[in-house]
């Protein structure tokens, strides 16, 4: 069984990506879909959202094979093979593959093997390293029979993210409402297309190499990287000027997405609300966010005991509806039965 992998990616940081994945993971789990949340961002923010600092410290200090993404792939950098991932159970249908700051050290191996994988001989090792994230995630998904793997990666176009995206079937792009997000699309879209092509060449090269026959059990990801749409953050609007500036960027996003990510010529004049590629406009949940972070739970699970009383209680209900809609929309895009 191969589980679908959905990655949230933007090369611009600070667009609320980690919080989004965190909430979606909880929402899918509450809809009884089994989820593995994989933290491939060396900054490990997603891990920090799920676990306390003491728990993370214990995992990192222990250095047990498979305890983090890095501990899974680390043996590959030497002479070993991928270690079986050791997942943390967060809730009945929710598992975390913890991230690791040391993962950045793996970037070098990944960049080194990229040209090697186009060579004529000894392709097994480079291909194994380049596809290691996919292998680890599929091992994790198999271990718990996951319906979906959600992946968080850092905001850059480096070798770690290239490998993470090769392992991805679907890509969702969270955006902020600013110049940088729009500009970012201009780098991101072409990068995705180019990686997809380059990976296809490597797959062909591997299959023609004859080495493939020596390793019949060695499976490789397709590198589908299909963009399923974008998400936009709602701006906290108060004064007039920011509203105008915000509006300007917001209006250019549907066009920017088509041009850069989908490579479409025809740019329709539509607003985000009516754009089918707009998966959601993420609201600003204001004081619910710090409350939720303190309690280590998603905002839609906050209770009266946590302080979600009065108007907060209503906001909690609204947040649950919003995230449920988003989960349903995403499930529709990737063909996941809810």
């Amino acid at each position: 069984m191969i589980s679908p992998v959905l990655t949230f990616f933007n090369n611009k940081g600070g667009v609320g990506k980690t919080s989004l994945i965190y909430h979606l993971a909880w929402m899918f789990a509450s809809l009884r879909k089994r989820i593995v949340a994989a933290d491939l961002d060396p900054q490990a923010n997603l891990t920090a959202a799920f676990l306390t600092e003491e728990e993370i410290e214990a995992i990192w200090e222990e250095e047990k094979p498979g305890s983090t993404v890095f501990q899974c792939v680390k043996p590959l950098a030497g002479v070993g093979d991928i270690a079986e991932p050791h997942l943390r159970r967060i809730a009945p249908d929710l598992y975390l593959l913890p991230g690791d700051v040391r993962l950045s050290g793996y970037e070098e191996s990944l960049s080194m093997e990229w040209p090697n994988s186009m060579g004529d001989h000894n392709l097994y090792r480079p291909m194994r390293i380049l596809s290691s994230f996919w292998q680890v995630m599929q091992m994790a998904a198999r271990a718990v029979r996951a319906d979906l793997v959600l992946v968080d990666i850092g905001p850059n176009l480096g070798a770690i993210n290239r490998s993470a995206l090769l392992a991805t079937d679907y890509v969702a792009i969270p955006l902020g409402a600013d110049l940088f997000s729009l500009q970012g699309l201009g780098n991101l879209g072409p990068a995705l297309r180019s990686w997809k092509n380059l990976w296809k060449k490597r797959l062909d090269n591997w299959r023609e190499s004859g080495e493939a026959r020596l390793y019949p059990d060695f499976h490789l990801p397709e590198g589908k990287m299909q963009p399923i749409g974008y998400l936009c953050q709602q701006h906290g609007v108060r004064l007039e000027r920011p509203v105008q500036a915000y509006d300007k960027w917001v209006q250019r996003i549907p066009g920017g997405y088509r041009k850069h990510v989908l490579n479409e010529e025809h740019i329709p004049k539509i607003s985000q609300e009516e754009d089918p590629y707009c998966l959601a406009i993420i609201k600003h949940y204001r004081s619910l966010i710090p409350m939720a972070q303190e309690c280590r739970k998603p905002i839609f699970n906050l209770t009266s005991a946590d302080g979600a009383i009065g108007s907060h209680a209503n906001a909690v209900q609204d947040a649950r509806k919003d995230f449920r809609l988003l989960a349903e929309k995403i499930a529709g895009e990737i063909g996941l039965q809810l």
């Binding site: 209770t303 005991a305 302080g307 009383i309 009065g310 209680a313």
Partner: protein, 402 residues
């Protein structure tokens, strides 16, 4: 609690038509959820059998044993149904390993609840014939009417002097209901305000809209007008004896959410963080008492205390060297002075208040308060917790770490 003999169980196992029986081959995959639905449905006892429902794990649909090996782990997983707080109010059930027809079976016997409707995961499950379903309005009303006065716990007694207007509608509709029922259940039902209150045991019935003790406790605008003792008294004493000067005092009332949150704020303010910069190369931050332990003891006091014929509040006395938390009413039911605090021994004087505390999010699972408090105290470096029980009170003492 009734225990069936082997003959009776065999008879039940064979009777394929009965709606008091459910058989499962194993406890894997989707089964734990379905078993919980069945337990909820047996506890509701809509057909009014007044007999326990029985669930066999390790039997095929035709009553033949499936050859399951009944392990301790399986029995523990089954017992967890009772305390994980997903079925509310807590069901009365027993879990045992029995040998029938030479094969091992796990047998769960579920007593009909005195306090229907019972919910699982925010839904009221019932049995009608061989099927399991979610109760409709009419069925829910039948269940509400079935609550019998005679052996009800005090927490759902009517408070005749109170009126429905003494309950806060906004707390009920905005905070309580969305947590108590699954969203889809709330969306599709068109029950009236009174029917909803009655379903949650906040009033006696839609026709007799008198608030219950529970209603005032959970939603009251000023519950202490009717239940003067349902509050928390806080005293900060400058010394180690009650006769020493009092430096802070507050009587904290209101409905439960407000009361507990205000009490916790008060406790947090007094639990001053000490930053030690002298004794180690890097500074250490320490608290005299672990907040989670104080919290658990306080919740326990509010949950397990007696609300019946007493005007005593839960009392929190904060001395220089210790905190004492007094909970009115001695140990209850299964719990005695002798076995107090031992793991696995719990009982509920106020099962419906337990339901409300779980719904509002103060409790995650049942039976874990004292173990959690003990562990936190140890982790923080405090001496072990001390419990003193008598006929009229349970007193817990947390000593300051030296």
């Amino acid at each position: 609690m009734r225990r069936y003999s082997d003959e009776e169980l065999l008879e039940l196992l064979k009777s394929l038509e009965s709606d008091r029986i459910e058989r499962k081959e194993s406890f894997n995959g989707d089964v734990p959820r379905k078993v919980r639905q069945a337990v909820c449905a047996f506890a509701n006892d809509l057909p009014n059998h007044n007999e326990p429902g029985v669930l066999f794990v390790g039997a095929k649909d035709d009553g033949e044993p499936s050859g399951l090996h009944v392990t301790d782990r399986l029995l523990l997983a089954l017992a967890d149904i009772k305390t994980d707080g997903n079925i509310l109010p807590l069901p009365v059930l027993s879990v045992e390993k029995r040998v029938l027809r030479g094969a091992e079976l796990a047998v769960v016997t579920v007593m009909p609840s005195d306090m229907p409707p019972v919910k699982y995961d925010g839904r009221i499950w019932i049995r009608t014939g061989p099927r399991r379903a979610i109760a409709n309005e009419q069925e829910e009303r039948l269940l509400i009417e079935r609550r019998r006065y005679k052996n009800l716990p005090f927490d759902i007694y009517p408070v005749p002097s109170a009126r429905i207007t003494d309950l806060s509608r906004s707390i009920f509709e905005n905070e309580y209901l969305p947590s108590a029922f699954a969203p889809d259940v709330l969306e599709e039902n068109n029950r009236t305000y009174e029917e909803r209150l009655a379903s949650c045991k906040m009033i006696v019935s839609p026709e007799n809209a008198i608030p219950t003790v529970l209603g005032l406790f959970a939603l009251g605008k000023s519950p202490q007008d009717f239940l003067p003792g349902a509050c928390i008294q806080f005293l900060r004493i400058d010394g180690t004896e009650l006769a020493d000067p009092v430096v802070d005092e507050e009587k904290i009332g209101g409905a439960v959410v407000e009361m507990l949150r205000r009490a916790e704020e008060k406790l947090r303010a007094h639990n001053r963080v000490a930053v030690d910069i002298a004794s180690a190369p890097t500074h250490r931050i320490g608290m005299p008492y672990p907040p989670a332990a104080i919290q658990q003891i306080l919740y326990n006091a509010v949950l397990h205390r007696t609300y019946e014929s007493t005007n005593a509040p839960v009392r929190v006395y904060w001395f220089d060297d210790r905190i004492e938390i007094h909970s009115p009413g001695g140990p209850y039911g299964n719990v005695t002075s002798e076995n107090f605090g031992r793991p696995g021994i719990t009982d509920y004087r106020n099962p419906n208040i337990a339901d409300v505390l779980k719904t509002f999010g103060f409790i995650q699972a049942f039976g874990r308060g004292i173990p959690t408090a003990r562990r936190e105290a140890e982790r923080n470096g405090n001496p072990p917790l001390e419990f003193e029980t008598s006929q009229s009170a349970v007193v817990c003492t947390l000593r300051r770490k030296s």
